[in-house]
Symmetry: C2
Subunit: 216 residues, 2 copies
């Protein structure tokens, strides 16, 4: 029996609840129907030598599957996708396309969204952040328009729901403190469609339950 | 006989030469010993509908392999790595580790480096960029220290050279307009080691030759 474990923070402030990246891995595990255990760590303990030995950038999640130890939520989700057709079809071309969109979510879309979120959540009082913000928002909107054009009238990025949608919606969620997505009806409908999946709801509830259990 | 094609810009300004992402794919192709053809496009033609149909974010590279069309250099390099033990061992655990470090390069390291590079290369005259720069540089240095600690005294990220090193060094190269890497002797030695590979030299020369052929 394979034992799967995911590291997660015991608690984070509300602005980060529902966004911390163990959610992406919990969601993939739920879609695949794989049971897992949670290693809840206090936020400062991400810097402990034992933890950094598993996650050199001192973040969550770490994923352990028997003797395999992985970090990077993109790599973990792709690893799980190779084990479940709920996350990725078995056809090699379709697998290449799922992989491509996971990378697109993390390298073509998330970076500009993260820039905007950091300005808003960590530096909103700084003059330089206020001055930079219009450009950062414009950059996000341009990228979202390209994404909406690519998605067009399809329900999912590929023929059926896959780990690519899981990752892309996980990235779009980072915009929740803004009303930017509301300007893209295609993407709003897409996000609602994907977030309505029972596996997502279970994953989100599980992350929130951990925070509730350790509420300071 | 598999036909492989990579899109590349006919010409870009010197600050981008040697960094454009088709280099990553050319390098992987060279390591694997796969012949390829180049589809050189003028920079404005990235916006042409035929091109955007292949690359929704209007960037290079697009990779075509017979009927398969892929974008995202991370996904393309991983796709090639699955075809060549020069890029990735055949052992599943080692493959998971190579994949993990490709994602780490693109999602945990490149974003903060790109923020710094954009400040320096596109916004250096803006007050907000000058005010933000110390924090952006500090963020890069903290991440590089974590990376140097993780690499420790090893020659490569994993037991032997792999696509993970190819991707990580491709990301570190974005810092070439700064002297930041010089503060990390482990990483400088690592970059020199990886860039000394004949396959890298051939790939870089090929990209530069395209620019020379179309010099305006």
């Amino acid at each position: 029996m394979t034992v799967r474990r995911v590291s997660a923070y015991k608690w984070v402030p509300p602005f980060a609840q529902g966004l911390v990246r163990d959610l992406r891995v919990r969601w993939a595990l739920e879609e695949a129907g794989f049971a897992y255990e949670v290693d809840a760590i206090a936020h400062p303990d991400r810097l402990a030598p034992d933890y950094v030995a598993k996650q050199p950038f001192a973040q969550v999640p770490v994923y352990e599957e028997d003797d395999l130890v992985l970090f990077e939520s993109g790599a973990i989700v792709l690893h799980l996708a190779r084990q479940s057709t709920m996350l990725m079809p078995s056809d090699p071309t379709e697998q290449a396309h799922v992989t491509m969109w996971i990378f697109a979510a993390l390298n073509s879309i998330e970076p500009c969204i993260s820039v905007l979120a950091e300005l808003d959540l960590f530096h909103a009082e700084q003059n330089w952040a206020r001055e930079q913000r219009p450009l950062a928002e414009e950059t996000v909107k341009a990228r979202l328009q390209q994404l909406a054009d690519a998605l067009a009238d399809r329900d999912y990025l590929l023929k059926q729901f896959s780990a690519a949608d899981l990752m892309l919606v996980s990235v779009l969620r980072i915009l929740r403190h803004t009303n930017i997505l509301a300007g893209f009806s295609t993407l709003t409908a897409y996000q609602n469609r994907v977030e309505s999946r029972p596996a997502f709801k279970r994953a989100l509830e599980a992350q929130m339950n951990t925070f509730a259990a350790y509420e300071p």
